[in-house]
Amino acid sequence: MQEMMIAKARELLKSGAVQRVLGWKAGEFAYDVEPAVFESAQELEKSFVYNDFCGSNLSKYLIAQSRKEGKTLVFLKPCDTYSFSQLLAEHRIVRENVYAIGIPCQGKTDGETLKGKGFTGILSAQCEGDTFTVHTLYGDKTAARADVLPERCLNCKSKKHMIYDELLGEDGEVLDSHRFDMVEKLEKMTPDERFAFWRGELSRCIRCNACRNVCPACTCEKCVFDNDASGIAQKAAADSFEENMFHIIRAFHVAGRCTDCGECSRVCPQNIPLHLLNRKFIKDINELYGAYQAGEDPDAKSPLTDYTMNDAEPGIVYHRGGNQ
């Protein structure tokens, strides 16, 4: 696939159809692949990669890239196309300046996930079939592919590309995932248990803003939390309240817009399962207002800018979900 992508990118650059290529660049080790812009065939050949570590969602970079002169070629995995589509619906990307190529994805892992599975001193890693071989300072180790995939890939919602100009490889299907299982599990806990769970998680937050800055739904020119005039600006959580506030409001602001790409949880240095907050909103919306996935249908009205006269009353919260 990587070779096909490089060939395609080289061809489009050469013909002048695109001026630059948004893809992934190899790093020092196997896993530290970084998003990058390539402007020449030499650059592509030198460092363009597409492998099991290309997890980062490139769609948000298009906000800036699509405002540059000429066209940008971007490679989008199925879940990235949801974000791309949603950003288009929100007028954040200049569509005519983007040439989107859909590429297949079998799930992406990352260095943190490998380390979490006990691989330390990673020097390089290869995947053959379903087996990952990791060379480390302390010897070679192997693992089954499924064992080193992060949660978002194990519960992948779709292998289908929502939008593209061209497709490399086969398109997949929307999957019947179990992505709401953990939300459901939490809903079944008592409020005290849930409170304890979330305090345990959110109290680790260092307010580095990685979740927000990587999020393709967070595209405000200036975030309310950075804006002293908003009255709720905070640079650090000076009290546990501010940890809650930041994450509740952030989840609320992306409710109905979150494509569940999982980048927030991937980048969290403290491994806080932030995607659960967004998924809770998605699940609630599905249950209360009908199935809806942001990024799926650009013409569908987002549930929070829509209503029906017979919507559930807020009091429904008192009756549903969770033990007392």
Binding site: E90, T219, L304
Partner: protein, 666 residues
């Protein structure tokens, strides 16, 4: 820092009995920014207002807090008084310590404490108040009526009578609408044409009315008082200024088999045609889809016979730009398509007709000259079966409509009665779910059909209509009251098809940013209290476009809409509510969330060039609020995640300052 004055009203003993007013004014005197604090028996009295005015001048107050009765009571009074003393009226805030404090709390300590907190909240808010000025916008003194049916005609006539210019845009070649196709009208049975056509002529002759027939609204921009509308005047290929309406062309045209839409396809017309004798404007129209000359360049007969030289094969659509102060929507309705109702054999048998087709079959100007004949063989029918509620009150998997079409009960009674009167040898059956006849003289009318004219009303639905080889229609039905199955050999079956909004309405609503319900009927600003206005300012609703209604109701609503439009046009300027939303362009990212929740279409987007901090320029899509259209609900402010959208008078920081003051530790 503001210089704030606090004025605590006793309201006689209304407040003073349960709130220690002196303690309130003394405590609030110590709040930051407060430079003056007093209490007085009746702040709303003239001497009370003078205390306020004097203090504003003597202490150079920049903000005022009145602790008194509800702002719904005297906010306007105090704002006026402040303005008289030279203070911007929007620098006045009221702490409601009567209705929401002294009157509900018996304990004086608790009441006093709460009054102080409410006062603090008002002070906290005033600290963040900014002077607001109500904007003004001019009013173009001309109205646009979209749709030239009876609703549009009535509205236009009323507006014109009041002395304002009004344009009617009608997509058909003639105005008149559905009513021109009707025979008689209930409950008086006067002939539709006799009462309608004089009004059509009035329209044509009224100096204030311009009729754009065979035209459609192409684009609507602007806002209340200042709409800019593009009207597409479709090419008729006939110069309307020359055409005399003599009709010679329509007799000579060789293309004879064009289905005549005016008679609902029950007969044919030529490729050049005048819909009916009383059409307004009475000019010919060439149907480009069927005209040989326009299709192949071979013919030109009409041009040859036209003595006025009115035929112009090179005519093009014309775009007319007009400005309006008010727009009245009167787009009307159409009967639903019955092709999904196979059980009634509508598509299989010519003798199964809709009620509107039946109108044409009994109309003296219709295809049969007013004699009721079976469409299939031209014989006189002896047994007629009317089926009510075809598609009404039953969504039926999307075939029909959930609502009652409202007019069917009455026109079916009319049809049945007229048939029985003219042809006493016929048997007439009416199948119904309910007979609904509220309205002046309506029930009497229906009872006459049953009691005097011997129409057989049967409660129950027709299950199936089966055409037989001998031309009869076998009607299977049940009589729910007698609880028996019925089999009727009918000659004709007439279906009371549900009515639905004209299909053009949805596109129009989008252009007007007027809201619609799920059935595509226009939504009114308030279902009870503002029934002829759209929530979008300057857009009014006339006739069935807002919901099913009969002619008397349509006409009264049309006049009501006219009255509302006249009220608007009579103003020279519109004063805007200054408490409106505004968008901070530097923070707006143009995502459109605010636009989607705005009920008034007050938010538009523009691409604006910004000089960025790094000295580059960037073009960004940003929202902009039209203060003349915004009503200040604030829906957009919450939809906006960045807080770029805020509401003057109720800003995020003002409300949070109130929250802080209320929740603060003592």
């Amino acid at each position: 820092m503001q210089r704030i004055g606090v004025f605590v009203c006793w309201c006689g003993s209304n407040i003073a009995a349960t709130v220690d007013v002196a303690a309130v004014s003394d405590t609030l005197k110590n709040e930051p920014g407060v430079v003056f604090s007093t209490n007085y028996q009746y702040m709303c009295s003239e001497s009370g207002q003078n205390i306020l005015k004097d203090a504003i001048r003597d202490y150079q107050l920049t903000g005022v807090v009145i602790c008194s009765c509800s702002p719904r009571m005297h906010e306007a009074t105090f704002r006026k008084a402040a303005a008289a003393a030279g203070l911007n009226p929007y620098m006045v805030e009221i702490a409601n310590i009567r209705e929401q404090c002294s009157w509900i709390h018996k304990d004086k300590a608790a009441g006093t404490e709460k009054a102080i907190i409410l006062g603090r909240a008002a002070i906290a808010k005033v600290h963040l108040n900014a002077p607001l000025t109500a904007g003004e916008s001019p009013v173009t003194k001309r109205a646009l009526v979209i749709g030239g049916g009876i609703a549009g005609i009535q509205t236009a006539l009323d507006i014109a009578e009041a002395g304002f210019e009004v344009d009617i845009v009608e997509k058909q070649p003639t105005i008149g609408g559905k009513m021109t196709q009707l025979d008689k009208t209930f409950p008086t049975l006067d002939c539709a044409a006799c009462i309608l056509t004089p009004k059509m002529v009035d329209c044509a002759q009224n100096e204030n009315i311009s009729i754009y027939a065979y035209s459609e609204v192409e684009e609507v921009k602007g806002f209340v008082g200042n709409f800019h509308v593009k009207i597409r005047k479709k090419a008729r290929y006939v110069d309307t200024t020359k055409c005399t309406g003599c009709g010679l062309c329509t007799e000579k045209c060789p293309v004879k088999k064009v289905s005549n839409e005016f008679n609902l396809g029950l007969d044919n017309r030529r490729a050049v045609y005048i819909p009916f004798a009383q059409a307004v404007p009475k000019v010919a129209t060439i149907d480009a889809d069927h005209c040989n000359m326009l299709k192949s360049g071979k013919c030109g007969l009409c041009a040859k016979v036209c003595t006025a030289g009115a035929i112009d094969y090179k005519q093009k659509d014309e775009i007319i730009d007009r400005e309006y102060g008010a727009i009245v929507v009167a787009t009307g309705y159409q009967p639903i398509a019955l092709d999904k109702y196979d059980e009634f054999a509508y598509s299989q048998s010519k003798d199964v007709v809709t009620s509107l087709e039946f109108e044409r079959l009994t109309n003296a100007a219709g295809p049969t000259g007013g004699t009721l004949l079976r469409p299939s063989d031209g014989t006189h029918p002896h047994t007629l079966v009317f089926v009510q509620c075809v598609g009404s009150r039953c969504e039926d998997d999307g075939r029909g409509k959930s609502y009652c079409s409202k007019i069917c009960c009455m026109y079916t009674a009319k049809h049945a009665m007229l048939v029985r009167e003219k042809y006493p040898d016929t048997e007439v059956y009416v199948f119904y779910i309910d007979v609904r006849t509220p309205g002046k003289n309506f029930d009497e009318f229906y009872r006459r059909a049953v009691e005097e004219y011997g129409v057989h009303y049967i409660k129950g639905m027709v299950g199936k209509v089966a055409p037989r080889a001998d031309g009869k229609l076998m009607v299977q039905a049940c009589d729910l009251l007698a609880n028996e199955q019925l089999h009727i050999e009918a000659d004709m079956v007439i279906l009371a098809a549900a009515i639905e909004p004209d299909p053009s309405a949805r596109h129009l609503a989008t252009m007007l940013t007027a809201s619609m319900d799920t059935n595509d009927f226009f939504t009114e600003a308030h279902p009870k209290l503002r029934p002829v206005e759209s929530p979008t300012a300057g857009i009014f609703l006339s006739g069935v476009c807002q919901g099913p209604k009969d002619i008397p109701e349509t006409v009264s609503q049309a006049s009501a809409a006219a009255a509302k439009a006249i009220g608007l046009l009579a103003k020279n300027k519109l004063t805007c509510n200054p408490c409106v939303a505004h968008s901070d362009e530097w923070m707006c990212n143009g995502c459109s969330a605010c636009e989607k929740v705005c009920p008034y279409g007050a938010i538009t987007y523009m691409d604006k060039e910004f000089r960025m901090p790094d000295r580059t320029t960037a073009i960004r899509r940003v929202a902009s609020v039209n203060p003349a259209v915004c009503q200040g609900c604030g829906a957009c402010t919450v939809a906006c995640p960045s807080g770029a959208m805020d509401l003057d008078g109720f800003s995020n920081s003002q409300i949070m300052a109130e929250v802080d003051a209320i929740c603060k530790m003592k």
